[in-house]
């Protein structure tokens, strides 16, 4: 048989999608850090987490990823995209780039993605749960209602999040995300 007719194939890297996902991860990371300062619920959630909390949200097998954790002062910070030398306590992996695309283009909400087993979590589960709850809140800050309605199971009511709190929060989160303070 003529082997050369059937060459070995190394599938290409999906450059554009990688960039898009990295950007989204960056934004989400910074936004969470920001929300941890601006929103009391998020703050609360983080307070309950272990002190050396350090999580990685990434895409298998070869990234992109983002690291988020508490620094020595216990302040929640976005810690960049390289987990080297960091002690990860909770690791959240999206099974593949396409799955990440589905999530970050809001075709699949976190809930749906979890239900469809597109995420693999290792480390202490309670932290993971807290994190997903936080994610939901941050989404409500970052995104317009129409999108978030699909992304979260139930959109916060007046009682839980007054428009005032929401819009002020949104402004704060955005500015902090951009400036990184």
């Amino acid at each position: 048989m003529n082997y050369n007719k059937y060459p070995q194939i190394n599938p290409k890297s999906k450059f554009i999608k990688r960039i898009y996902v990295s950007v989204m991860l960056f934004v989400v990371g910074r936004a969470i850090a920001a929300a941890a300062k601006s929103d009391k619920v998020v703050k609360e959630e983080f307070k309950n987490l272990r002190d050396d909390f350090m999580m990685r949200l990434g895409v298998t097998p070869n990234g992109p990823e983002m690291i988020l954790g508490k620094n020595e002062k216990g302040v929640v910070k976005y810690m960049g995209w390289n987990s080297k030398g960091k002690k990860i306590t909770m690791n959240m992996q999206i099974k593949n780039l396409e799955a990440a695309m589905l999530m970050f283009t809001f075709q699949e909400s976190t809930t749906v993605a979890t239900a469809r087993d597109r995420l693999a979590v290792s480390g202490d589960l309670p932290d993971a749960c807290a994190f997903v709850r936080i994610l939901d809140i941050v989404e409500t800050y970052l995104l317009p209602k129409i999108i978030v309605k699909f992304a979260v199971k139930r959109y916060p009511k007046w009682s839980q999040m007054s428009p005032l709190r929401k819009y002020v929060g949104r402004v704060l989160v955005y500015t902090r995300t951009l400036l990184g303070i």
């Binding site: 239900a115 693999a120 202490d124």
Partner: protein, 416 residues
């Protein structure tokens, strides 16, 4: 039947069911060319003389049982695993037969990891998909027909010294064979049969109503529900009804297939926590919380629940009931089932948390523990598969009713 735009389903276990299924064990071991199995089980099982049945079934087949270890505690841990692994290696076993409920089977899975990977520290294999090679042949023989852990790829093993619970997730943790033999569950006393069967029932119903549902898990779930509701009371009233026992065993296996693929929701969120905080048996929690969780999710699962009613009550009832009421009826049915079991077991089967007593007869769930339970519950992953979202207050609201045994005041449920 709606096909979700994406789903996964996997159940690599070869299921063997029958009144004399045990007799097949030698040939199965032979298939995996193993001839020196080690039996892992707990005192309860040996006490009930079930191991002798297994030994009888294997005797004179060339397969030699090298070791029988029945000292697996209800809350097994790393220490036990390592001890058993040592035994396994010393006795030169080449396969594992796990007999019993969740605890022995999980322990056996742990042992299998240690002996197959020659691991010194089991914990380095904790997490999802860390184990990447086939483990030693393993046969699971459930004796409770409830947990379905013979069908799951998860093993939860605690390390009481470090005081952590670690989850091991890998398809290689699935036993090669699950053997359902009516003789194995025959001697299970009614007041235990009831909650374990309700445990399976919960698996099936949640599998059918929660977010991870898919066509295959739906099909198996429906079958499971049907078989349980047809047989449970019969068996509880007449414990040595072998056909009934076998049906329940099958149902539990089917339920296991379903929920290990579609995952479970609120019932387990609360159930795990209650078990964790107050050490209430898993099955008991399940049977108590089931109706409440269904009520809480009602507005999201109306249609699915209506279909569940078909399996619960049978076609005649289903046909008689107006489409709009079927979902409600399903909940009533479950409540009634609990009630009937309560009567049939002269009160041993608990309908609400305050009815749960330990052997000494003192209540296991004091009201002041509820908030702890809920706090723990919020850390349970199963919440993400629940159709409706919930926070601390929601859970408190539900569990308080479950404690009292009063139906939920639906108006108070926050609908998204």
């Amino acid at each position: 039947m709606q096909v979700p735009s994406y789903y996964e389903f996997c159940c690599r276990v070869k299921t063997v069911s029958g009144h004399n299924a045990l007799e097949k064990i030698p040939s199965f071991l032979d298939k995996l060319d193993a001839k020196a199995p080690m039996i892992i089980t707990d005192k309860g099982v040996t006490g009930a003389g079930l191991i002798t049945i297994v030994e009888e079934a294997i005797k004179g087949s060339g397969v030699e049982i090298k070791a029988v270890c029945d000292d697996v505690p209800p809350d097994s841990d790393l220490k036990v695993v390592n001890e058993l692994a040592k035994v396994y290696q010393e006795k030169g076993c080449d396969s594992i037969i796990a007999v019993g409920g969740g605890s022995p089977i999980d322990t056996a899975k742990g042992v299998n990891i240690v002996v197959s990977e020659n691991a010194t520290d089991l914990m380095q294999f904790a997490g999802v998909g860390v184990i990447k090679k086939r483990l030693k042949p393993m046969i699971a023989i459930p004796t409770t027909s409830g947990t379905g852990s013979e069908m799951t790829l998860v093993a939860v093993i605690a390390d009481h010294e470090k005081n952590v619970k670690m989850a091991f997730v890998s398809y290689f943790l699935l036993p090669d064979f699950a053997i359902l033999d009516s003789r194995m569950t025959k001697t299970l006393p009614p007041f235990i049969t009831a909650p374990t069967a309700m445990d399976a029932m919960t698996h099936a119903i949640e599998a059918y109503t929660c977010l991870g549902k898919n066509p295959v898990s739906d099909a198996t779930a429906l079958k499971a529900i049907e078989m349980i509701s047809l047989n449970l009371l019969k068996v509880v009233k007449k414990p040595d009804d072998l056909d009934g026992r076998l049906a329940l065993a099958n149902a539990s296996a089917l339920a296991g297939m379903s929920f290990s693929n579609s995952m479970v929701g609120m019932v387990h969120t609360l159930g795990h926590a209650t078990g964790g905080v107050c050490h209430v048996p898993h099955g008991v929690c399940m049977s108590i919380f089931l109706p409440y969780a269904l009520e809480y999710n009602m507005h999201k699962i109306k249609n699915d629940l209506a279909e569940v009613y078909f399996a619960l009550a049978g076609q005649e009832e289903y046909a008689k009931t107006a489409p709009g009421e079927r979902a409600e009826k399903a909940i009533t049915f479950v409540r009634q089932l609990n009630q009937d079991l309560h009567d049939a077991t002269d009160g041993k089967h608990a309908r609400c948390l305050k009815e749960v007593f330990d052997r000494e007869g003192n209540p296991m769930v004091p009201k002041d523990k509820l908030s702890d339970i809920v706090k723990t519950a919020l850390g349970d992953a199963s919440q993400f598969y629940n159709p409706e979202d919930f926070d601390y207050n929601d859970l408190m609201f539900v569990i308080e009713h479950a404690w009292e045994g009063t139906p939920l005041d639906r108006s108070k449920i926050k609908k998204g």
